[in-house]
Amino acid sequence: MAEKLKQTVEPVIEVQDICKTYFMPGGMSQSVLKHVSFDVVPGEFVAIMGHSGSGKSTLMNILGCLDRPTSGVYKLAGKAVSDKTDAELANIRGQEIGFVFQNFNLLMKRTIADNVSLPLIYQGVGEAERYERAVRMLHKVQLNGYEDRLPTQISGGMQQRVAIARALINNPKIIFADEPTGNLDSKTSDEIMDLFTDLNKQGITIVLVTHEDDVADYAKRMIKIGDGQKIYDGLRTEYQKDEE
């Protein structure tokens, strides 16, 4: 199915032969990603799976423009990322990407509205508009009425919904979520995954990292990383465990 779509639609993510090697003091080096390639087209819902330490987060950091590959080409929305400056990368992160983290990463001393609208500050959006847009986003994640509370006053599941609202506030092309349910119980996890499914239906591309099978089940497509290499890429429903 991915193959078919590719011919008709421009991919939003193009990963071509990416390697990532960490060089450690003392001359040691560790190859964490080895010649990984794949495309993601707009509207896809992709789960990246793999054992702990297999390189999932490293891959996500590159996709999210927080890190650069050691070699290979990464294109986001058709533009190569590797030759951009730090300031340009910050701009891309602020305008085209939404992040959701495992531990939410909310500013605990700031109101929920301030947290949701944080990315807008760096786009030069004024205070009144920031607040108004935060309220709208909170409505989208069913947290209306919470704008002036502090994150410490709400549950973990709600905090993650706040983080999702924050990821959505810039109308990003794509959302990256690194183990977004890792800190949540299974019932709350289901609620969060339902929310992602909903957003995906509205046309937002979602790439999420998980090592839980039932979380991955929400995604249509699955990419499996093993020891830094892509070992499966296809429909989640067609994945057989013994393929490894």
Binding site: N61, G64, L66, D67, D86, A87, A90, N91, R93, G94, Q95, F99, F101, N105, L107, K109, R110, D114, L118, P119, I121, Y122, Q123, G124, E127, R166, N170
Partner: protein
């Protein structure tokens, strides 16, 4: 953008109120101390100027020679300038007038009141050389001096202490048991340089003092003589003339030392002024050490803050904050702290200096230097102590920062 950075910085520093306040306290105390010390220094300088103005600056002071024993200069020698010596100076060119004093410390008694006082035995010219004015009554005359009449002219402190609200003119006071008639009072001068009471004074003819209050084997020699010069630019030449005249009268051979000293008030003023200036600079320098400590306090707090807020920094960067933005936010935080601290410190210093001035009965100026110092401290300390932490925050790798627990 500056407005948004300042707002974020303000919210951040107010989120940790106690810590921010304690950090500000360091800068506050530092600036308050500097403002206070500058005010103290300026007050001293002003007092010096005021006192010299009240004494008159075109004055030459002639004292006893210095004792020399074994080539080492010691203290004052015995009186060597006679009343006649001083009188002989009056006719010299560019000299307005000259006077001398012999003094005695005694108890002044009137009725049941008594007060310790410095009695100056002098000449009528002392009014001019000492910049005194008669408030009430008259000064004793040349004839009173010749005949040694028991007349006194008293300062305002003596008026207050002995007579209260009574009119002292014509009354008789007792000094060492002897009766003296009050014929005049002196206009108030206020405190002297060392906080001494200039109005605690009684003037009487020098001859009277010698006869009735303090005898001496050399009765016609003065403790100090004063020469008032017509204008300040004549001081040097008059001093030379005085030296020439006195050496001749004392029959000093060429090559021998003077048996008297001639000092110019203008030079003494300069000396005291420069001591006053050095003193105030020293005070300010010592006070600024507390500023340095305060500034280290800010740097320390900001470094702790950057470490503590590593995750926040990582999050902000992941959400699109450019490195510069992060740097300016932390810089703005330290500048805000130092600005508020400096301004509160400035007001504290000004208020404390006014309270101190009120307490010590001195007029303390509010100096533009307080404002200049405070503003420059605010900017310099804020930038200097914020720069390193801000760079540290800017350099943080977002991936590492997000992994930070």
């Amino acid at each position: 953008m500056i407005g948004q950075i300042l707002r974020e910085a303000w919210i951040s520093i107010t989120a940790y109120k106690m810590r921010t306040f304690l950090t500000m306290l360091g800068i506050m105390i530092g600036v308050a101390a500097v403002v206070l010390m500058v005010a103290a220094g300026q007050t001293v300088q002003n007092e010096i100027t005021k006192t010299f103005d009240s004494m008159g600056t075109n004055l030459i002071i002639i004292g006893p020679g210095e004792t020399v024993s074994g080539g080492v200069r010691g203290g004052r020698g015995r009186p060597s300038v006679s009343f006649d010596d001083v009188e002989s100076l009056r006719s010299l060119k560019d000299i307005e007038t000259a006077s001398y004093i012999v003094n005695a410390a005694v108890q002044a008694v009137y009725g049941s009141n008594n007060y310790g006082v410095n009695v100056y035995g002098t000449t009528p010219e002392y009014l001019t050389v000492g910049n005194w004015e008669i408030e009430d009554g008259i000064m004793f005359s040349e004839r009173d001096l010749k005949s040694g009449r028991p007349y006194v002219v008293i300062g305002q402190t003596i008026v207050d202490e002995l007579f209260g609200l009574q009119n002292p003119i014509g009354k008789t006071i007792r000094l060492k048991g002897q009766p003296f008639t009050v014929i005049g009072t002196l206009r108030e001068k206020g405190d002297g340089l060392m906080g001494d009471d200039q109005d605690n004074i009684i003037l009487t003819p020098a001859t009277t003092l010698r006869q009735r209050l303090r005898s001496s084997p050399r009765p016609n020699y003065s403790n100090v003589a004063f020469v008032k010069v017509t204008s300040e630019d004549r001081m040097e030449s008059v001093a030379n003339r005085i030296e020439y005249q006195l050496r001749a009268r004392h029959r000093l051979k060429e090559g021998t030392d003077n048996d008297f000293t001639v000092r110019l008030m203008t030079e003494m003023v300069e000396k005291v002024r420069s001591v006053g200036l050095i003193l105030s600079l020293l005070l300010a320098a010592i006070a600024s050490i507390s500023l340095i400590v305060g500034s280290i306090g800010i740097m320390n707090m900001m470094l702790v803050s950057v470490t503590e807020r590593t995750r926040e920094i990582g999050t902000r960067k992941a959400l699109g904050a450019p490195n510069k933005w992060i740097m300016f936010q932390f810089l703005a935080e330290s500048i805000l702290i130092s600005f508020i601290g400096s301004f509160v410190g400035m007001f504290l210093g000004v208020i404390l200096s006014q309270i101190g001035g009120y307490y010590f009965g001195r007029e303390v100026p509010i100096s533009v230097w307080s404002v200049i110092i405070s503003v420059s401290v605010a900017v310099i300390v804020g930038i200097v102590s914020g720069l390193m932490p801000a760079f540290k925050a800017m350099k943080l790798d977002p991936i590492e920062a997000l992994r930070f627990q």
